[in-house]
Amino acid sequence: MKGWIIRSTLILAIIVLAVFLYIIGKEHVIFVENNTFTIDGKVYEPYDLVRVTLDSGEPVELKKPRGRSLGRAKVSTTGLNHKVLVEILDDDDNVIESKEAKFNVKNNVEELLLNIPALMHDAEGWVANNQKTIYVENKPFTADGKTYEPYEFVRVILDRSKSLEIRKPGDGHTGMDKGVVTDLRHTLYIEIMDNEEKVLESKEVSYTVGHAQEKLLINIPAVMNDVDGWLTEYEE
């Protein structure tokens, strides 16, 4: 009896240790971004030069984005509680303004996006999940009293990587699928097919997701017919 208690305690202790190790060791990639941030019609502009220190790591310097640059840096971190120190610099590297903030990461979040202008203005969503779940539906869409019908068989490629195949709802098909994408700017490649998988029609569109949005819904018939409102926030 005594041996049994000791053993089960030991096993329990090891499991607790494993969970603890998982939590403190889990990698969270944090993208620090010095880029324009828009929320509720308000626009926060990026700074010329900022220095960002995450926890006690090496500081990173970010310039104002130019051309294709997104003004970003990638920092790998572990643990759930972080603090960030932002220093706005002038041309001679003098600190004009600085601010320190704290934030938490949920354990199951792989990537975070941290927007500096938003942080400096305390705007909602300055730190957000960088992974967005995109729900794609092949269902009837109604707009301006007109209804666009779903297609027999559709192949959708999210950002040239994740491929989804969706049939018309009914016969056990839900007419819906989802995929996870990272970042804010995305492309969507759609192929309308017949039952022999021959492509009848294809289309490519690009779209942008807001910082704070985590789940989005795309309606295929609406996209194919260029109807506004094909991209909405997803509600369970």
């Binding site: 490629i157 950002d159 040239r160 990587s161």
Partner: protein, 395 residues
């Protein structure tokens, strides 16, 4: 008198100093028993630029024959090159497992050394560590080999491989592309498993399997079956049987006229044919035609292994001397053309699963050469064919 002596001593010294190469290039290849052509490429470089022992540019070392197990030795050999303060570039052909680990250590020790190679390890790791990687374009070849088979008259296509190779992203992807291409071009695709030459039964056991099974396969699937295998050890017996009994062999996994053919068909070479690719192709062609393999068997006219070692070495030298840009596709091809006069090359940049194009990972391929009895040679013109876009999206 004394002055003259000192002066002459100075002259002697200065000659010695100036005669020595200003920098060194490390070249790492397999031995002849693993990959002959790779090593011959290194010998070509030594012939041109001299070995470090003789004051030249090239420091050649080899990795172990059973490199899959002796990763440690591969790492030590590569890192050992970086111990030389004059070392400015390291070319590894083929960059077998352990190269990435070694390159990371070289980077830590000597960030100035250029790192080039033909990688075996996962593209994700290679992109982050290599300055330049070249790889046969298995995406395009997945389609083009099937197309060539169809043009030659095959109606079935057999892909022979084993689990360990199917753990390689680019090999596994090529198989799926081949399957899709067979579907589209109307060939039947047969996925065949075979013993792994590095497993318990060894190379001989794996080869014996091929020797025994090809006749059975030809009987079951008919003489219009094209065969393709992912492993070099399987190539030799496969060629022997196809030449004897029928079937098609478009090109090897790492094509070269010296890949499999000389051993399989007992081709004899004289001393004066050595080192001359066109003469070797002709000699192999004679043997293939004699066995009745005309219009059924092919290769690349210039060895990939040879060209990769020599071409990457040449490119590295040009980059260090400021003549070329490390990741400039045209510059790379120019260095390659030096060793393959008149060959048709084509290629693209590797695009990863996230759709990001990497300019330090170049995929290349040469035109397929089919042995035939006509003197004009059998280039298939595969480099002119445009590969349909959809194959690039197949995972």
């Amino acid at each position: 008198m004394k002055k003259v002596f000192i002066l002459s001593l100075l002259v002697v010294f200065s000659v010695a100093v100036f005669a020595a190469a200003p920098f060194h290039i490390g070249v790492v290849t397999g031995t002849v028993s693993q990959s002959e052509d790779d090593l011959r490429g290194a010998e070509q470089l030594i012939k041109e630029y001299g070995s470090v022992e003789d004051g030249g540019y090239i420091q050649h070392v080899t990795y172990p024959d059973n490199f899959m197990q002796e990763v440690d030795t591969t790492i030590a050999q590569i890192v050992g090159l970086a111990d030389d303060p004059l070392m400015k570039a390291i070319v590894v052909n083929q960059a077998v497992p352990g190269t990435v680990a070694a390159f990371r250590r070289v980077r830590e020790m000597r960030p100035d050394i250029l790192l080039l190679g033909h990688p075996h390890e996962d593209p994700n790791m290679v992109i982050d560590t290599f300055d330049l990687a070249i790889y046969p374009d298995n995406v395009a070849r997945g389609y083009l080999i099937i197309l060539a088979a169809k043009r030659l008259g095959a109606d079935k296509f057999m892909h022979i491989s084993f689990p360990r190779h199917m753990g390689y992203e680019l090999l596994s992807r090529r198989r799926d592309i081949m399957r899709e291409a067979c579907n589209d071009l109307g060939l039947e695709f047969i996925d065949m498993g075979s013993p792994d030459p590095t497993s318990d039964i060894g190379i001989a056991g794996a080869q014996q399997f091929i020797l025994e099974k090809v006749p059975a396969w030809l009987e079951q699937y008919g003489p219009n079956t094209a065969f393709f295998c992912t492993n070099d050890a399987h190539t030799e017996p496969l060629l022997k049987r196809i030449a004897e009994l029928g079937g098609y062999f478009i090109e090897a996994d790492l094509p070269s006229p010296t890949m499999g053919y000389p051993g399989a068909l007992g081709v004899t070479f004289t001393e004066d044919e050595k080192g001359n690719w066109p003469a070797i192709v002709e000699k192999v062609q004679e043997a293939v035609i004699e066995k009745g393999g005309a219009n059924r068997m092919g290769t690349w006219a210039f060895s990939l292994g040879f060209t990769a070692t020599a071409g990457l070495g040449e490119h590295a030298k040009r980059v260090i001397e400021g003549e070329s840009e490390i990741t400039d596709f045209d510059d790379v091809m120019e260095a390659f053309m030096k060793y393959t006069p008149g060959a048709g090359w084509n290629g693209s940049l590797y695009v990863d699963a996230d759709g990001i194009e990497h300019d330090n990972f170049i995929l290349i391929y040469q035109d397929t050469y089919v042995f035939n009895p006509y003197t004009e040679g059998g280039f298939m013109g595969m480099t002119q064919v445009e590969v349909p876009e959809k194959y690039f999206y197949i995972d």
